[in-house]
Amino acid sequence: MSLPDRIDPRPPRRIYRWDLDKTYLQTDFESLRDLFRTAFQKAHEKVAVPGASALIRELAEQGDSRLCIVSGSPKQMRAVLEEKLKLDGVQWDEFVLKDNVGNLLRGRFRALRGQVGYKLPAILESRVNAPVEAEEVLFGDDAEADAFIYSLYADLIAGRVDERVLTQVLEAGGVYPDDAARVHEAWKKIPIADPVRRIFIHLDRLTPPAHFTPYGPRVVPIFNYFQAALVLLADGHLTAPQVLKIAVEMVQTAGHNIITLSNSFQDLLRRGLPLQQAAIALSQAMEGPNALLKAMRPVPDILAAFSKRLAALGTQPPPPRVQAVDYVSLISHALPRTHKGRTLKPQT
């Protein structure tokens, strides 16, 4: 093949890493019955979290990003999960599933429920081949240890966590030696950079937002994907018309309305996220005829609802404080929920 004939994909400028269950899919596995039902659901029976597929599609719009999915679902579910993603119009670049049968056969029972020893090496190995300058945004939920693992991943590649802390965390997290070795190996191959911009945690269990305060402002707990879209607009990953498209999909398919959306907007403002410019951009995007917006409500109503929520707050609260994350003291967040050491009390 001559050089001009080769069509290599552009190196990704941005990498979006997603968990699947409770982050992209509305999944119940609280009981054995739920687990059984989830395992035998067909692709068309699976339901995506409102706005998730629209958000992924809009993030892919620029064509210079990668979508990497690392899910705790078993490998045996690959076909049905891939079919579901295709049904939703979602295209992915990496799709890693957990080898639970392998773990079972090898007697690695801790690995069945443990997340640190599974997700951390998987995303570090994925980062090894990424361009140094590629930014990352990560999406997880509050059902598992996503905030902990994603933050640790971000601080590891940024050089903010040393080997001693990492070893302590892996030991306390019950990570098997071969998985720990994979973590160390991949980590050493990654050049030091600080690419992780945001970590979104979908509050599937409605965990109080203050629970995530120890992770600093990089971690943003969200009640819905409209909130993620607003923050990504402020961060320059989405345009205002794209955010409106996501909102419209949530209105049309999931029963969201102007009240839930404006409350969601205000919720972020109250947590100190700087969204004033995003609000202005949204207002400008709504000017002029827009068939999509007619599906929601007359534009003046939308603007009024958002303006009122903004005005109702008086002065804007200060942005959340940036702080170093103490992973050793937060290790309980990374343990499976049934673990005795796990505490989920809100922290301030």
Partner: protein
């Protein structure tokens, strides 16, 4: 009159409760988890609300906050306090309801300030001259589809001197409220007097009796005496604010005295203590029946908007229930029901 909305927003005056703002915020948070069609608008000091909200389980899609930097204390004189503090949480909340930002108001704060704020911002329903403060009282009987053990007494303090016309309006308002909230299709309504005969009582009560007897659509059963209140003979008891308030305070006093006597008996003798222990399941049952927290609060009736006055000692559960009662009154168009009742 407010129409039937698809989503109901309840404004909570966060600042007035005996247990502090966090308890009201907890109640609203609980409501946001339990009732998808109800949205909470928390009115009060924003940093205080935010701090309380961040640490508890809630649904952020169903809660918004409106900052109000001031509040009326329990011991303040309502008129003076509201004049001095136009941006107090209860005044701002009432204004927001009047402006259509919320459909109803719930406050656990100063009752007088709440009523006065409503008077300033809400309109009286056509045909109603004076608002009435209603209260629920636990009785021996149960009523309606909900097997509600409470009867409704009104007025207990909003209109001290009521005319015959006012008493008639109170009867219609109380009947509509019992029908909607207790799901009691034909609530029995009676006037409180010093005898069951129609001619008993002061002239205004006798005149009200005559007029109520002729009203279609109202299940008026005549007069009752004080003894009928705890018996639960009827579902709605109508009186003026002076008598109603005296009755209410006396009933509360009797309840407190009985509890004190039980405590005395418990300490005094081992035999009495054993007797109380044997009665413990019955006492528990009695506690369940008289648990005012499940009822949420008392309504101020007569305005075009709903105001539920929650008890000052309300905990989160009572606040959440007050929100549900308010939403139910809005959803079932209580104001329209009262107006229609008065027209008959």
């Amino acid at each position: 009159m407010v129409g039937k909305p698809q989503h109901i927003t309840i404004a909570f005056d966060v600042m007035g409760s005996d247990h502090g703002p966090a308890e009201v915020v907890r109640g609203a948070a609980q409501l946001s988890l339990e009732s998808p069609h109800i949205h909470a608008l928390l009115v009060g000091d924003r940093p205080v609300i935010d701090e309380a909200l961040a640490g508890i389980k809630h649904n952020g899609e169903r809660i918004s906050v409106h900052h109000a930097g001031d509040y009326v204390g329990m011991d303040e004189k309502p008129g003076e306090a509201l004049a001095r503090k136009p941006e107090s949480s209860v005044a701002v909340a009432a204004r927001l309801v009047a402006e259509g930002e919320a459909h109803a108001l719930v406050s656990a704060g100063n009752t007088g300030a709440g009523v006065l704020a409503c008077k300033r911002h809400f309109q009286l329903i056509p045909g109603v001259r004076r608002a009435a403060l209603a209260t629920v009282y636990p009785t021996r009987g149960v009523r309606g589809a909900k097997q509600d053990p409470f009867s409704l007494i009104l007025d207990v303090g909003a209109t001290v001197e009521a005319t015959a016309e006012d008493l008639v309006a109170f009867a219609v308002m109380g009947s509509a409220y019992a029908r909607i909230i207790s799901r009691n299709e034909r609530p029995k309504v009676a006037l409180l007097s010093n005898g069951v005969e129609p001619q008993k009582g002061p002239p205004r009560v006798v005149e009200a009796h005559q007029r109520l007897s002729q009203m279609a659509g109202l299940n008026f059963t005549g007069n009752v005496e004080g003894i009928d209140i705890p018996r639960g003979t009827v579902d709605v008891i109508v009186t003026d604010g002076f008598v109603g308030n005296v009755c209410l305070k006396m009933l509360e006093g009797v309840h407190d005295t009985v509890m004190e006597l039980a405590q005395y008996a418990y300490k005094e003798s081992l035999r009495w203590r054993a007797g109380l222990a044997m009665l413990s399941s019955g006492i528990e049952r009695l506690k369940d029946i008289t648990d005012w927290e499940q009822y949420g609060g008392a309504p101020i009736l007569g305005f075009d908007r709903i105001f539920i006055k929650a008890h000052g000692r309300s905990r989160a559960r009572a606040i959440a229930n007050a929100g549900k009662v308010a939403a139910k009154a809005v959803a079932n168009e209580l104001g329209t029901a009262i107006q229609e009742g008065l027209a008959k």
